[in-house]
Subunit: 406 residues, 2 copies
Amino acid sequence: MSLIVQKFGGTSVADPERIMNVAKRVAKTYDQGNDVVVILSAMAGVTDGLIAMARKVSESPDNRELDVLLATGEQTTCALLAMNLKSMNYPAQSLMGHQVEVMTDHCFGNARILDIKADRIRELLEKRHIVVVAGFQGCDPDGNITTLGRGGSDTSAVAIAAAVKADVCEIYTDVDGIYTADPNICPKARKLDTISYDEMLNMASLGAKVLQIRSVGFAKKYKIPVHVRSSFSEEEGTMVVDENSGMERLVVSGVTHDTNQARITLKKVPDQPGVAAKIFSPMASAGIVVDMIIQNTRAEGQTDLTFTVPRNDFKKALKLQKEVAADIGAEEVFGDQNIAKISVIGVGMKDHSGVASTMFAALANENINITMISTSEIRISCVIEEKYAELAVRVLHTAFGLDTRE
Amino acid sequence: MSLIVQKFGGTSVADPERIMNVAKRVAKTYDQGNDVVVILSAMAGVTDGLIAMARKVSESPDNRELDVLLATGEQTTCALLAMNLKSMNYPAQSLMGHQVEVMTDHCFGNARILDIKADRIRELLEKRHIVVVAGFQGCDPDGNITTLGRGGSDTSAVAIAAAVKADVCEIYTDVDGIYTADPNICPKARKLDTISYDEMLNMASLGAKVLQIRSVGFAKKYKIPVHVRSSFSEEEGTMVVDENSGMERLVVSGVTHDTNQARITLKKVPDQPGVAAKIFSPMASAGIVVDMIIQNTRAEGQTDLTFTVPRNDFKKALKLQKEVAADIGAEEVFGDQNIAKISVIGVGMKDHSGVASTMFAALANENINITMISTSEIRISCVIEEKYAELAVRVLHTAFGLDTRE
C-alpha cells in the first residue's frame, strides 16, 4: 500500500466525460489499497477563456483579481470529480488552495510556494478519503488567492506530494512519457523508462514541454519520484528520479531542439570593463530573457559578442542593441532569426569524455555548420541553421545510440 | 457621506458589458464621497449551467461539492467587476465568502448565516477601497464552502450591511421597485415609495419575488433600510423600512395573487384528538409545504378539513390523503387545482376596522365566490376560482384606493 499523488492536466479533465474517466482511474488506484491525493488543472481551454473575458473588462487586468478569476477553473473540475467519486460511493472531498493552506508569496500570477500545511489532507487520508486538491492555486499570508503561473499544477502536485510524503507523484498528461527526442521529427525516438531530475531540468527548459520546470526542481529538492504517464492508456510512462537510484545509465539520454530562438551579434565591441553590463542591462529591463552568450576575443582591444533571445523578442532586442552599439562604440549589430539550438543531455557525460567530439563529428558529417556552442556539466548545445534542425536531431540520436532497438 | 451596500443580481451582471455598467454606477456612488461595498450574484444562467454540468457526473450531486462548484459563479463576477474598477483607476478589491468570514452552519445548499466578521471589509473601507463581495456564499466553522440557497445574495447583502453598519442596503434588480400589485395584470398598480419590513415579508411570501424572504427578516432584525431599485435606470425605487420611520401610511399597501396553489378537502373527518397530526405528518415527511388550513365544524362529531399545497405537489398530496382518509375513516377526499389566493396587505390594518368587509364586499360585487379565508395581523387572504384572479386584484386595488392618482 502506497500514498500516491495523481495529477491530471487540462486535456484529461476537458469535459464531464473525461472527468468520469479520471474518477475511474482514481478509484482503481484506491481499490488497490492505496491512499490517493488527486491534483487537478482547469478544463483545457477554460483558463484562456477566462483571460479573454478579463480582457473585455480591462486592457491589462489587475493581477490580484485575475488570480481570483482563474482560480475558478480548478475549483470547477475538483468539485465535479469529487461529486462523481461520491456518486460511485467513494469517500471523496475537494479542497481549494486556501483550504490545503498552500502558502505562497504575494506574487500574483506567478506565485512561489513557501509552505504547505496539508493538515486537512492528512486528516482526510487517515479516514481513508480520496482528497481532490485544486492545482495551480494557493493563498498568500494575507489570505489572498494566488496562482502559480502556467503549468503550475505540476508544481502543486509535486509540492503536495512532498508535504504529505507521498511515495510517488504521478503526472497524467497527453503524452505517454519522456522521449529521447521529439518523435514527430525523429521516428526512431524511444520512450525512456527513467530519467534523472537534472536531465529533466535540462530537457524541460530546452523544449520537452511535458513538465513545468519548477516542479522538477521541487521534486529534486524533496526527492519525490515523479511518474510521467498518459491519462489515456494504462502503460507505464517515464520515472523522473534521483540519478543514483539505480536508473538506466546512458551517456546521452536525449536530444532536444529549440527553433524558438534568434541570434544577435555585436561586432567589434570595445574590450573594456562594464561593457557587458551596458549590453545586457537594457535587455533585463525590457524583460527579455537572454539564453546563450558567447564572446570571442579579437585583436586590438576589441571583441565580438553574440547571444540568443526568444524569437518573439528579436525585433525589440535588435532595436535596443542598436542604441547600445551607438553608445559603446561597437561597429555593427546584426541578427539572425533562422537558427535552431540542438542539445544533447545526459548525466553520463560527467564520466565520459568524447561526447562533444562525437557531437561535432556527427554534425560535420552532414555538412551542418555550428555557429555557437555552449556546454554545462550534463549538456552540450550547438546553434545551427534552422533548416538543418530536424536532420541534426536524427543524426545525433543515431550517433549516441538512442535509436529504437529492433 | 454614507456607507452604502449595493447588491446587483444575475441579470445586472449577465455579461462583461453589463458588469462595466455596474462599475460605472458603483464609481458614481463612490465619487459622491460614499463608502461602497458591492455584493454580486453570478451571471444570470450560470448557476443553472453549473447544476446541469453537475448532473452529468452525478444523478444527485453531493451537496458539499455542489456548493464548491456553485461558488465559482460569484467568484467570476466579483473578479471581473474589481478588475474593471481598477482599470478605471478606482481602488477595488474582491473578497470571497471565506475571506469576509461569512460564517454559516453546515447546511450545504441552504446554509444560514451565523456571524460575519467583516474585519477585512472594514480595513479596506478605512483605506477608501471599494469592496466587492461574493454574494450567496459563506463558509462553515470547518472552512468548507457553503451557499445560502436561491436568492441568497440578497441575504448576503443585508447581513453584510448589518455587519458593517451600513446606512442603506441597495438591491439593484430588473424591476424598479415594489408595486401595489402586479402591473402585468393591474395596469393601475403604482410603485410604493416605502413599505414596512412586515408588509414586505407578507408580499414576498405571497409572490412579489423581488427579495429573498430571509433577507427581509435580517433587515427587520437589524433595522437596515433596504432600497429596492432598478439597475437599468437612475430612478428611486422602494424603501423597505421600519413601520415607525415616518413612512407613508396606507391602510392597505398591496394586493397580491398566487395562482400556484391547489386545494385539498377531506370531508367528514372524525372530530377526534390526533386526527390533524395523522393528516399533516405524512405531508411534512414528503416535504410538501401546506399553506392555508381551514377546519369547519360539522354536526355529529365530524368535521371538514381543507388546506392548500403548491400546485406541483397536488397529485402527490392527493394520493397521500386518500391513504390517510382510509386510515382515519374520512368519507371523501377531493381537490381543486384551479384556485387562486388573493391577499391584501397593510400595517394600517392594525388600526383600521372594516378591511375584511370591504374586501368581501368588493369581491361579492363582481360575483366572485370566496372558498377559503385566512387572516393575520396585517394580511387577509381569500381563495377564489383561478379564472377570477386578475379581476379580483383589480377590483381590490380600486376598492382600497391604490389606483394611480391621475
